[in-house]
């Protein structure tokens, strides 16, 4: 090993070394944190909504005119949809999970209590809600047709029998969420609701919300001329049925507007668009930085090899084999890169702590910095291998030929 003389020679040409090491350190700082953010976002985006997303679509139905009677039309529409071949179930619902819009409220275990109120998304649905959403009932019972109350502004919201998510039950009754069936909880107007069932998981409409796992299903249809039909199909039938349902609704002769005929998958992608755009940008930043760093390493190597052609020829004359020359430049790069990645690891952790303190971010896992160091060391070796191989081709005759 000839690390000693390589190191001492490098110390005589510090500027280039410092610039490249600083570039490596900076790159490491950025990629470690960027990869962490990407993974973090990825985990967020990968959370299941609890529904059978792949086979769900919805359509907005807005009626108009004096003769339009939503109670009649929606019953007729749902009947038609449920009978179509390929449709598993359908429900009328006020909001779509992970869609970005919906309604929420706060529930407490004691009437009138303000502190300890648990925020939750509210889904008003009919009796086919659970089978349509595809959520899993883990305790209690499902809704029946007689549970469903049809209501408009002239009928006040009364007491309800409701189904909530396990996460919400845990928030209301810490440690005994699974025993929540049969218990009564209260909304801000002190209306009582009896929990009749628990579902394993059903996300709120807002994926960024802090209570995204808290959802409450109320068996209620609100008659106001505007409705969302949510339809679950057999696998592979969704896209065909999206077209068919819209065509049949349009052909039914009622005065209405049909909007937003979308699959849940599509809606989900839109809700996470900023997250996935950010990940794409970060990937581009990482790629660009790594490329620039690699080019910097190649540039420095080519420059220093060209400057030392005669020295390399002399080393060859004095007995260096081609592998010796190759090893020299790989080792030299390893030394520079090691300085860079050590500094970079320190900077990366410091930068992460800064993000933790100033933004809503968590600490990076311990293995991110070492993994980044290894990646950049390998990148450095790969970048220098081309110039180093060209250095091995320098003829030993250069020792006597050129001045």
């Amino acid at each position: 090993m000839e690390i000693g003389p390589i190191y001492r020679a490098l110390m005589r040409n510090r500027l280039g070394v410092i610039l490249i090491a600083a570039q490596i350190a900076f790159t490491l700082t950025v990629i470690v944190n960027a990869v962490y953010i990407i993974n973090d976002r990825g985990e967020l985006m990968a959370r299941p909504s609890g529904t059978d997303e792949a086979n769900l679509f919805f359509i907005n139905n807005i009626g108009y005119g004096d003769t339009y009677n939503e109670a009649v039309v929606s019953a007729e529409d749902l009947d038609m949809i449920r009978q179509l071949p390929g449709v598993t179930a359908a429900t009328i619902i006020n909001a779509i999970p992970v869609s970005g819009s919906g309604s929420s409220t706060g529930m407490a275990t004691v009437a009138g209590r303000i502190e300890g109120v648990v925020p939750t998304a509210v889904y008003t649905v009919d009796e086919q809600a659970l089978s349509t959403l595809g959520v899993e009932l883990v305790a209690g019972r499902d809704f029946t047709a007689t549970d469903v109350r049809y209501r408009n502004d002239s009928i006040a919201r009364g007491d309800n029998e409701i189904i909530i998510t396990v996460a919400m039950a845990e928030a209301l009754f810490p440690g005994e969420g699974m025993q929540a069936v049969g218990r009564t909880i209260y909304d801000v107007n002190q209306n009582a609701s009896v929990i009749i069932g628990l579902v394993a998981r059903l996300q709120a409409p807002w994926p960024q919300s802090s209570f995204v796992e808290n959802s409450m299903l109320i068996p209620e249809v609100y008659i106001d001329n505007s409705a969302i039909y949510l339809v679950r199909t057999e696998p592979g039938q969704r896209d065909r049925l999206m077209v068919e349902v819209e065509e049949r609704l349009a052909a039914s002769g009622h005065s209405r507007i049909l909007r937003n005929n979308r699959s849940l998958e599509e809606r989900r992608a839109e809700s996470y668009r900023i997250d996935s755009a950010m990940s794409t940008i970060l990937v581009a930043v990482i790629g660009t930085l790594m490329f620039i760093t690699a080019m910097g390493i190649v540039g420095l190597a080519v420059f220093s090899i060209n400057r030392r052609r005669k020295q390399i020829g002399t080393r060859r004359a004095l007995g260096a084999t081609r592998p010796d020359i190759l090893r020299y430049f790989l080792l030299e790069n390893l030394l520079i890169s090691t300085v860079g990645v050590v500094a970079g690891a320190v900077l990366a952790i410091a930068f992460n702590l800064f993000l933790v303190q100033n933004f809503d971010m968590s600490r990076i896992d311990w293995y991110y910095a070492p993994a980044g160091m290894v990646v950049l060391l390998i990148l450095g070796q790969l970048a220098v291998i081309g110039p180093a191989i060209s250095a091995t081709r320098i003829s030993p005759a250069l020792a006597t030929r050129s001045i």
Binding site: A9, R12, G319, T321, R322, P323, P396, A397
Partner: protein
């Protein structure tokens, strides 16, 4: 020691073919001090490069130290250079970024010698050229003559069987040059075979034997009866 038979060296570029050496034959015995002279472009450096295995030749046979080295591969040639040959260059060719100790160390590193033994040898070699006290200096802190002495120490440190020098005094003034020549004579007296290319006719007379090259061929080969002290 060194036997070249019917060596041809042709440099081919896109435009011209240069016959740098043609049917070149030369035998050098162990312990000789041979000077090579001849007009510029006659092929002196080419001969030295072939003798030192820095370049390959087009045809002919070269036997070095009893071994036919005509067709050795690149790796083996490097090993032969490292173990059997010492080089001294006109422009010294020291590594500017390394101190004298590390400079002399270069050939030993390629021999895979233990650090303790290397240190012993390097200090002995630097001492023999009178520069041990400056082992931590950089080449740029030395005069030309001193730099060439370091280069000689580097050539000797591996204890080669013979030494090849291409105008070792070409960049030095005459006083410094004669100092370097004295050193070479001492080295030769200690048993190392030396082949030296020179332009200086007075230096040529100081050797055992002077070979004059013209147009890539040996034109005259004279034994000098007058030897320098």
């Amino acid at each position: 020691m060194l036997k070249m038979n019917q060596i041809n060296k042709v440099f081919r570029t896109e435009v011209v073919e240069t016959h740098a050496l043609r049917n070149f034959s030369l035998h050098v015995q162990e312990g000789e001090f041979v000077t090579i002279t001849g007009p510029s472009g006659c092929g002196k450096t080419t001969f030295l490069n072939l003798a030192g295995l820095l370049e390959t030749f087009t045809s002919g046979q070269y036997v070095l130290d009893g071994e036919d080295v005509s067709r050795l591969g690149d790796y083996q040639r490097a090993k032969v250079r490292n173990e059997k040959i010492g080089f001294i260059f006109q422009s010294f060719n020291l590594m500017p970024d390394l101190n004298l100790f590390d400079n002399v160390d270069v050939p030993l590193r390629y021999r895979g010698m233990r650090a303790a033994e290397r240190k012993l040898r390097i200090e002995k070699a630097l001492d023999s050229v009178g520069l041990l006290s400056r082992k931590n200096h950089l080449p740029s802190q030395l005069s030309g003559g001193q730099q060439q002495r370091v280069a000689i120490a580097r050539a000797l440190v591996g204890e080669p069987r013979f030494l090849l020098a291409d105008e070792p005094t070409g960049n030095l003034d005459s006083n410094t040059a004669s100092g370097v020549m004295e050193l070479l004579h001492e080295i030769n007296a200690a048993g190392t075979t030396i082949i030296m290319v020179t332009h200086d006719p007075s230096l040529a007379t100081q050797s055992h034997r002077n070979v004059h090259i013209l147009d890539g061929q040996v034109q005259s080969d004279n034994t000098n009866h007058v030897k320098a002290a």
